[in-house]
Structure formats: C-alpha cells, structure tokens
Symmetry: C2
Subunit: 197 residues, 2 copies
C-alpha cells in the first residue's frame, strides 16, 4: 500500500520536514548554536538524510535563508520599514521563522555561510533605510539604525526579564521611532524639493 499512514519513503516530505525544522531552530538559536543532530531529531528524520538532501549545514542554512528575510523590504514603503521591522521583532506570538531575519543579522563570525548572508541582508536594509535621509552620510545613519535593531534583538534574546522583554510593544516602537527620526528624517526644504519633481 502506497498511502501508508505517516510518511515513509517520501523524499519531498523528508526534505520539507528538514527545512521546517531548520527554519525554526535557526530562527530560535541562530546558526552556530544549532546542531545538525537537533535539526534531524526535530524533523524526525535520520541525520544522514540531511546531508543527502542538502549537502552541508552551510548549504541547509542557505536553503533556509533563500528568499527569507526580505519580504519586508519589498512590501513596505521605506517610511514604514523601521516600524514594521520593529513590530515583527516585538510581536508576542511569532510564527516559526519570523525571527530568522533578526537571528541572521546578529549572527557572529566572519566565516561560514552565515557571515555572507548576514552581510548581504544587512546591506539591503541599509540601502533601504538610507533612502530615507538626504544627508550625505546616509549610509552611516542607516547602519546605526540597523545596529539599533540588532542590539534590541540581541538584548531581548538574552535577557529574560529586563523591561525590553515585557514592555509594551507600542511604547518601544514609539521611543525608537522618535529617536531614529533624528537620524533619518529629511530636512523640511529638501523634502519639499523632492516632492516638486
């Protein structure tokens, strides 16, 4: 009987189970602190299959990150990007993978696949954010704002009880946005000039 309960001998389903498990664990613990054994166990799949289907932990990470983390860049108008990013980061009940973006951005190390992905992702966000200001050091300003997001994500992931973990989401967003505005807002005249075009 082909339609056996559960799934056996179904490579597509196995691949998908590995991808799902990897997505969840990478988002939760980051690349370095996630183990291939953890992923396989979490997927209910033999560890060797992970390497059969993905080749290496690096490649699995790349597969997980393919296309992920950039949805906000495409959907959001730049003015609302920071707010949306913060809201996703702070939301109470994230779906699996929702935090992939943040875990990826704050990954450590200069080797391994994670470093390249982090850099590419960071560059994309810096580019988007720097479009919000006309200051000549726009990239620096954008990078500072991104660093703030990364730092907040960092602190939230390590501290279990400090205010950041429990505080009102809207309040945090309000505070960060108001402060970031001093870095990213255009000057009045230049904003007007821009509109005239």
């Amino acid at each position: 009987m082909t339609a056996e309960p559960g799934r056996r001998r179904d490579s597509a389903a196995t691949r998908a189970a590995l991808l799902d498990a990897a997505t969840e664990l990478f988002a939760e613990r980051g690349f370095a602190r996630t183990t291939v054994r953890d992923i396989a166990a979490h997927a209910g799949v033999n560890q060797a299959l992970l390497f059969r289907y993905f080749g290496s932990k690096d490649a699995l990470y790349a597969a997980v990150m393919a296309g992920q983390g950039r949805e906000l860049l495409e959907v959001e108008q730049p003015e609302r990007l920071l707010e949306t990013v913060l809201r996703r980061m702070l939301e109470k009940a994230p779906r699996p993978g929702d935090h992939l973006l943040f875990t990826a951005l704050r990954s450590e190390g200069v080797d391994s696949a994670a470093a390249e992905i982090r850099k590419a992702l960071g560059d994309d966000y810096i580019r988007a954010l720097s479009a919000l200001t006309d200051a000549e050091d726009g990239d620096l300003r954008a990078e500072l704002v991104l660093a703030w997001v990364i730092g907040i994500s960092m602190v939230r992931s390590t501290s279990a009880k400090e205010p950041l973990k429990s505080a009102n989401t809207e309040e945090i967003i309000r505070l960060v946005l108001s402060a970031a505005r001093t870095l990213l807002e255009r000057t009045e005249e230049q904003a007007l000039t821009e509109m005239e075009r």
Copy 2:
C-alpha cells in the same frame, strides 16, 4: 640559580600571563569563541596550569572580568557616560582589554558564567543611564540606549568595511548622542527643579 632568565617555576608570573592572555582573547573574540588552548598557547604556558590556577574556563572568565568593565561607571558623571562609552568603543588603538566591556555585554547564551556577568554589567549600566531621565519608563529607555551600544559594537565586530568601521568617530558619537537625547533627557522644568535642591 634562582634568577634564571625568563621565568620558570614562578606561579605568580604564570597566573599573570594566563590572565593577560585571557583578557586579550576574551576581549577580542568573546567567551564562547575563545579556547582554553588558545589562551594557554598565547600565554606560553601549559594548558593544565590554567585549570590548576583557575579551576575552569568559567572561573578564569570571572577572574578576568572581576572589577573590569565598570571603571567608566565610577569615573564618569552620568551625563557624560554614554559619550565616554562610545568613545572607548570607537577608539582606534585600544589597549588589550579595553573592549572587554563590549564583548561581555554582547555575549550569547543563557548558561555559563558569561551570562551572569553580562546581566550584572548590563544592569549596572542601565541603572546609571536611567538616572538621566525622569520618565517613568526610564529603565526601558536606558535599556534601549544600552541595546544601541551593544548593536553598534556587534556590527563593528562583524562587518569589515561598512561605514561604521571606518567612519569618523566624532561623527558617530554626535549622531548617537543626539538621537539618544530624545530618550534620556529630562524635561526642562524637572531639570530645573532638580537643580534647586
């Protein structure tokens, strides 16, 4: 001859060499990514002696961090704390251990000695920074500012060439201070009230 060149059979010097090497490496790579073998090699000392004199990697880390990272808290008047912290973080030629504070604050994990030290250190800085505002959510504001410092340190340690790495130190400080001021400054009247006392 007791006064042999170099040092041999000198436990104090051996301990000190280990401490120095550990200080430098922990500051550079953080707790998790520093190896006891690295430390011993860097100190030119047998690895077993590290455990004889310090007991464990955790304990060595605690010994390194004992009293370190809080100098700025004691010296600086609160109003200048953030600026001084930023300046130390961004300075071009730090002495060994100068970055211990930042590497400690951005250490990962919830176990190991590093987590407790990070928390204690973070709490101290939050306390100092929150004294700068009279808002009732002062702790949250202070934690956000600390998260920013941590994020900047993070980004600088991973990106090799983005603006943050090379940009003008004073410009970065100016930008961060001006933005942070919206979070930490007192309202006019309350600052005056404070002065009257």
